[in-house]
Symmetry: C2
């Protein structure tokens, strides 16, 4: 017997037929003797609909009231799944965020979970009742409904798993695990049996959007074993989740002795960055701070930064990337700060892609990056910028070369498996 | 300065443009110096959508979870109206049923309001904040979300008005008041300035569906002055609600000296009844109880009852009416009890209509009913059954004569006004 948290996204909850399918999957776990808490998203499209209402009512909707509106999507699916479970003969009840409660900060629309009270919930789980908990929502300090920001349901699931000391948190999604790279680009991409929290964080942050980054960070902090697995298999015929058919996200210690593991775990790509270059920035103390302070004030996330060595003239070019969605605001802020910074001009380019190699094996092996640079150079792919972390090397290239670069690197690091039938 | 509760139905909340129109109307009351609490319904169609989901998930959905699902509709409109009010420069916040809380019984899906806690709410209202409260929902004993049953938002509004000691409860609806009869049948129907609670109860229960019966009963018990008025007038140009442009529903004392008031206040009709006749029922003690006990067990509401005098044979016919929606269940129950009751046959007829004259003036005037009977007889309209209460006389007639009967009676009791332009 295990205690597990199961999480289902919006696609899995889109309509009663699918909710019934989720109920069958939950029933299998209950029938196998497990205690189960389920975290659900709103029906696919519903949160967008509700957010649209709020924006239409006011472009600057009060976040407190925004939360009242958008939290309703998960409320609906929680109740419906409880009904479907009962109809399938499984004792079940829903618990709203304010009922448990899931206590959060008062930062409405982007609240952080602070604590989950579990006394009543544990009693209910121990009696064999399935708990259905809406993702994405909580009870703010002050007593209002709060939400965690888009994609927050993964975080809800991991936080709940930590709170009830679950043996596993199974995240059912529209892929059947985490792959060495995007299988749509590389048909020979292989599903990873295990990936570390840190690798998953790097993969998620560079575009492999299987899990919300925040939820992975929380799982790492709380030591929650998270499995990513498919919600699209036939719920009655799929392998049981405790046979670990998906990808387990675990601590370093659990993969320490995996001899078959490659040096590089995965190749990620991200086309959502924009490159900005400020030309002829004075090469003096404080110049860089003058550039990035106004961006930080707007919470614009700056990623890769390259500062060339100073020209003879005593000035330099500074290049960095920001999310494309933030580009207009970034350019505006920089333009306003032009005199303070003292640059000559701004050049920007959205036709770029960031390609990253990720793997904890990098820590103990030198020369990993040079394989990357050579492989790209052999195909004539020009590197515009480089950034590195302990377990990741990222390069910025021209967007048109994205797929080629991913394929080249996938092969170069020995990640190609057998070609899959679905190719 | 007054404290008022304003209630808007689903049609008024159907879409952001209409919600903004509601916000303008609320703002006018605030600008006039009033303290305002607003009770809102879900967007038109939304409750049906949510109920449909529940029924699809299980024909016998757990009422507790059903409430979790369907209460979300009013949650959404409450948040949206608060946002729209703020955008219009009016301080506002929403209060969910569980936040105030509005305490209800634990009869999920058809809960009764037991108490509304108002300490925090009064503080907020006194500061000039508009309170937006979702109708139809509350907090059940035991801590779950409850709903009051369909149409419960009127009841929420009246209960809230009683709890905050409001000077008036304005119910905005798709008609501009209560009329002497259905203006679609009688273009010369006149809007009533005032109607008593009891008259309104009788009018509502016989088909003039302006207000939910339950809310009128509560208003009478709590002495809440309720005004029915139009939500379709231009919100910026409509007469102010404190000029009483709609129909006020008040106690007997407030209309005691209204010399212009007619003897009869209104004529109602109801085509939703079915007539059932049991033939040759034994004329012995307990026979009638044997008929109506099985119907009472099924909560089938029996209205008019006529028992003819016994035939020479020692048996009699018993005729009564039930709602058409309940007819099949009623016939089934009676058929099962046939031996116990001992009747010979069942005849039923859905082509009937109940026509009622209603007015508190009836109490002090004899001969009111005979005017009705003569007027109908003059036009050859046959009366199949009669029932009376202190302030109402109802007759059952063939359905095809409904409109004719209403027109004849409207004229007979002197209710015709000037022909309205809209006819």
């Amino acid at each position: 017997m295990a205690r597990i948290v199961m999480k289902f996204g919006g696609t899995s909850m889109a309509g009663i037929e699918r909710i019934r399918s989720v109920a069958r999957r939950v029933k299998r776990e209950v029938d196998a003797g497990n205690q189960v808490a389920v975290v659900v998203s709103a029906m696919a499209g519903e949160t967008d609909r509700l957010v649209g209402f709020c924006k239409e009512a006011s472009p600057l909707a009060d976040p407190r009231e925004y939360d009242v509106v958008v939290a309703s999507g998960e409320q609906v699916t929680s109740g419906l799944l409880a009904i479907a479970l009962q109809a399938a003969g499984v004792p079940a009840r829903s618990w709203m965020g304010w009922q448990l409660p899931i206590r959060t900060s008062s930062a409405h629309a982007s609240a952080r979970i602070e604590a989950i009270e579990t006394a009543e919930l544990n009693t209910s789980l121990s009696k064999g009742e399935v708990a259905v908990v809406p993702g994405f929502q909580g009870l703010a300090e002050g007593g209002g409904i709060s939400t965690l920001g888009r994609g927050g349901s993964d975080t809800s699931a991991v936080a709940l798993a930590a709170a009830v000391k679950a043996d596993r948190c199974d995240i059912y999604t529209d892929v059947d695990g985490v792959y060495t790279t995007d299988p749509r680009i590389v048909p020979r991409a292989q599903k990873l049996k295990r990936v570390t929290y840190e690798e998953m964080l790097e993969l998620a942050s560079v575009g492999a959007k299987v899990l919300q980054t925040r939820s992975v960070g929380l799982a790492m902090k709380e030591g929650v074993r998270v499995q990513v697995l498919s919600s699209f298999d036939d719920p009655d015929a799929a392998p049981m989740a405790d046979t670990l058919p998906g990808t387990m996200i675990v601590g370093d210690d659990e993969i320490g002795d995996d001899m078959e593991r490659q040096l590089i775990t995965g190749i990620a790509h991200d086309k959502n960055e924009a490159k900005v270059t400020l030309t002829d920035v004075p090469d003096k103390p404080g110049a860089v701070a003058a550039i990035f302070s106004p961006l930080a004030d707007l919470s614009i996330n700056v990623d890769m930064i390259i500062q060339n060595i100073a020209h003879n003239s005593g000035s330099t070019d500074v290049t960095f990337t920001v999310p494309q969605a933030e580009l207009a605001r970034a350019l505006d802020a920089l333009d306003k700060a032009k005199d303070a910074i003292g640059f000559a001009g701004i050049v920007h380019d959205t036709k770029v892609a960031k390609i990253s190699i990720v793997g904890v094996g990098m820590r103990s092996h030198a020369g990993v990056a040079s394989t990357m640079f050579s492989a790209l150079a052999d195909r004539g792919i020009n590197i515009q910028a480089i950034s590195t972390s302990e377990i990741k090397v990222s390069v910025l290239i021209e967007e048109d070369y994205t797929e080629l670069a991913v394929r080249v690197l996938h092969t170069a690091y020995g990640l190609d498996g057998a070609e899959s039938a679905s190719g």
